[in-house]
């Protein structure tokens, strides 16, 4: 009981979302070329500006090299072995849920995301994305009454091309990085949110991503625009079946907040992580960036990362508007052979911009968990402030916790404070809780959840309990 190995045993649990839905899909042949990019665009009947966008990105991608600076190790990815488009066979997106293949509805229900009118959550609108395609979006009419647009990005391209053209690629340029360029060339679907001026979005918006095919890459593109003085809270969830091969997931998320707007973006990521020997699992290479374009705007990222074989993601804020605020709250739990290299960039451009970073990394098994962050204060960011706190908890002596917090500052009238610590669950703490009648598992779970509390507090109410449960699930197991 005294050994940390038993704590390690606790962090192991079986993945509960590993099933495969047996459904016919349309796939294009594997491999990537200019023809494939054109094919995706034509299958989606896209306007010319978007085809140009894709082709430009593809050509840039060809000139780029896969980044190798992260503390990650994986065999080279063969980009010609990936299928870039897969969709469940159904001709058109259905206007009513009744027409959606019941197998798909059942899949999402099994994942805890009921879409049917009787069962769905009363105050959360859901966009369900299966492989590359959005299959249903709930509460669209109710949202439309407030002028809120919440739909798949493919629909937005058809119905609101002017908005897509104005904002797409303005936060994450096509040549931003290798994976962003790849995504820009081949992205299939994702969510689109537009909150008009002065509107407080009446409910939580949520997208649920499900990878089903074994050999398909998933490349979602999400774009959220909050006009002046509007607010929105958005949550994404992710799962995938268990395959013994690795699937590539390279998403791009762009957020734009105008004057006085506020966007809260939460992620609960539970992609399949591979087995205890590191076989299979999702490669999660994601570019997420928000731009506080307007004065007094606010963008807040909250992430709970528990899945994926490899996570490479740095949700960032570019704080352009005066007095704008960026926040990043993160819990990353790695176990077995998982590798996570995650953190954030806070780029202070405007005066009196403020940012807060709270990162909690938990490493168990043979996993590696790195925090990598950048706080940059530019010459015009007079009065800018940053506070960062990154804490690591190590479970067992085979896990690695790395911390790489870059700071770059060019403005004397600013202040940056960074604190980091490393801890473990001490025998004394365990004994203290046990001596008050609290069982071993519950004691460990309480301490891990206590360690993460600052972050869980940031999640929307509806999902905070969910995240706690997810972590508790990860901690479920037999006491050795």
């Amino acid at each position: 009981m005294s050994s940390t190995a038993t704590v390690g045993d606790l962090v192991s649990q079986n993945y509960k979302y590993g099933f495969v839905t047996d459904i016919a899909t349309d796939k294009i042949a594997k491999g990537l070329s200019e023809e494939v990019v054109r094919l995706i665009s034509s299958m989606k009947q896209e306007p010319a500006f978007l085809l140009d966008f894709r082709l430009r990105a593809y050509r840039q991608w060809l000139q780029m090299e896969e980044p190798d600076w992260a503390t990650l190790g994986y065999p080279p990815i063969d980009y010609q072995e990936i299928i870039y488009y897969a969709a469940p066979k159904q001709q058109q997106k259905k206007s009513s849920l009744d027409e959606v293949d019941p197998k798909l509805l059942e899949t999402f229900e099994k994942l805890g995301i009921p879409l049917s009118e009787q069962k769905r959550l009363s105050n959360v609108a859901v966009d369900a994305v299966f492989d590359s395609v959005s299959i249903a979006t709930t509460f669209r009419e109710q949202l439309a009454e407030h002028g809120v647009i919440f739909c798949s990005i493919s629909e937005a391209v058809k119905d609101h091309p002017e908005l897509v053209e104005r904002y797409l690629g303005t936060v994450v340029p096509t040549n931003d990085n290798y994976f962003a360029a790849l995504n820009s060339a081949v992205f299939s679907d994702g969510s689109f949110v537009f909150i008009p001026k002065g509107v407080e979005c009446p409910m939580e918006l949520s997208t649920y991503f499900r990878i089903n095919s074994g050999d398909t890459g998933q490349f979602e593109r999400t774009l959220i625009i909050a006009e002046e003085a509007s607010t929105v809270s958005y949550l994404e969830g992710c799962t995938a079946p268990m395959f013994d091969t690795n699937q590539l997931h390279a998403a791009v998320v762009e957020l734009v907040a105008l004057d006085d707007a506020s966007i809260k973006y939460s992620t609960v990521q539970n992609w399949y992580a591979g087995d205890e020997n590191g076989v299979g699992g999702i490669y999660n290479f994601v570019t997420k960036r928000g731009q506080c374009r307007g004065d007094r705007s606010r963008i807040s990222w909250t992430q709970v990362e528990t899945g994926s074989a490899i996570t490479w993601k740095y949700p960032s804020c570019v704080l352009q508007g005066a007095d704008s605020v960026g926040e990043f709250y993160s819990v990353a739990l790695t176990n077995n052979r998982q590798q996570a290299d995650t953190g954030t960039k806070m780029v202070h451009v405007g005066p009196r911009t403020r940012s807060t970073i709270v990162s909690k990394g938990i490493s168990a098994g043979h996993s590696a968990n790195s925090y990598r962050g950048l706080v940059q204060i530019g010459p015009k960011a007079v009065g800018a402030r940053n506070y960062s706190q990154c804490d690591s908890m190590l479970i067992g002596d085979q896990a690695a916790a790395n911390t790489y917090p870059y700071i770059r500052c060019q403005q004397p009238q600013s202040s940056i404070e960074h604190e980091a610590s490393t801890c473990r669950i001490s025998e004394d703490q365990l004994f203290y809780l046990q001596s008050r009648g609290i069982g071993f598992e519950e004691a460990v779970s309480m301490m891990v959840s206590g360690f993460c509390r600052d972050v869980f507090n940031q999640l929307p109410m509806e999902f905070a309990a969910e995240a706690d449960k997810l972590l508790a699930l990860k901690l479920e197991g037999s006491v050795g």
Binding site: M1, D428, Q429, Y432, S435, G437, F440, M446, G450, R453
Partner: protein, 274 residues
């Protein structure tokens, strides 16, 4: 060796020839002690005499290994049980150094612990609201500010606050046998009064208390039925409350002489047997 104070009362805790070691270093070398319902016992002794080890062993700290002897709690073999099970059936250890657990809310901790004990007794578990009512009422026992409930377990608490939090836990868990390890250390006189007042309020004819302490001053406030002097891992002498006063007057010097005498006996023993 221990004095029988209430011969008719049921035995709650029976320690027989208890030997224990930590990191292969023997610390307890044959402790005998019987505690009956309604009794308050005090164990005194110098630093390193084994007092705190005794309390840790009774509570089941994983770093201590019992090498010989037995401990029965209401007829049940205590040494077979996990620390949490010992707590659930009514054994309580008030820590000399209560542990800080950042991030874990004190209120949540108290509720989970209380419900674990209630469940064991067959009582209904309390939800958040019902528990808040209970805890607020018990706060008065230790004159604690409700604000402490919203903080993390013991984190940033002063020495006195930590000890009051221990007694609050005792008030909530309603133990049958409470072991208070140096609960008086590091307390000013006001905090000491509050803590002692709490202990007195909670003691009844059905439960028992084992006080582990250096000093007489706690025993001025809580009157023990029996006092035991520990040295070199065993109980050297037992008596009534006057023994504590005697120690206060004459110190522990006699202990060395006594130990030397015992060691001599131990050395001669094989000869006698032969």
């Amino acid at each position: 060796m221990s004095a029988v104070i209430r011969p008719d009362a049921p035995v709650l805790l029976e320690i027989r020839d208890l030997h224990a070691s930590v990191e292969n270093q023997p610390i307890l070398k044959g402790v005998n002690l019987t505690i009956r319902a309604g009794e308050i016992h005090a164990v005194m002794g110098r630093n390193g005499s084994g007092k705190s080890t005794l309390s840790k062993v009774l509570a089941g700290h994983p770093a201590y290994t019992v090498t010989a002897g037995s401990v029965f709690y209401r007829g049940e073999n205590l040494l077979d049980l996990d620390p949490e099970q010992r707590s659930r059936i009514g054994l309580f250890l008030g820590f000399q150094y209560p542990v800080e657990i950042p991030g874990v809310s004190n209120l949540e901790f108290l509720r989970v612990a209380t419900n674990a004990r209630r469940k064991e007794r067959g009582d209904e578990e309390l939800d958040t609201f019902a528990f808040e009512d209970v805890v607020r009422e018990r706060l008065s026992v230790v004159q604690m500010d409700p604000a402490f409930l919203d903080r993390s377990v013991n984190e940033g608490f002063s020495g006195g606050e930590k000890k009051r939090n221990e007694i609050l836990q005792m008030a909530l868990l309603e133990p049958v046998v409470a072991i208070l390890d140096e609960t008086d250390s590091g307390l000013d006189i006001d905090a000491l009064r509050i803590v002692a007042g709490g202990v007195n309020q909670l003691s009844s004819p059905d439960n028992a208390t084992l006080l582990i302490t250096h000093y007489q001053r706690l025993l001025d406030l809580i009157t023990p039925d029996a006092v035991h002097v520990m040295a070199a891992g065993r109980i050297l002498r037992s008596g009534g409350k006057e023994l504590a006063l005697e120690l206060e007057r004459s110190g522990y010097d006699w202990v060395d002489a006594e130990l030397a005498r015992l060691d001599g006996e131990a050395e001669r023993q094989p000869l006698e047997v032969a």
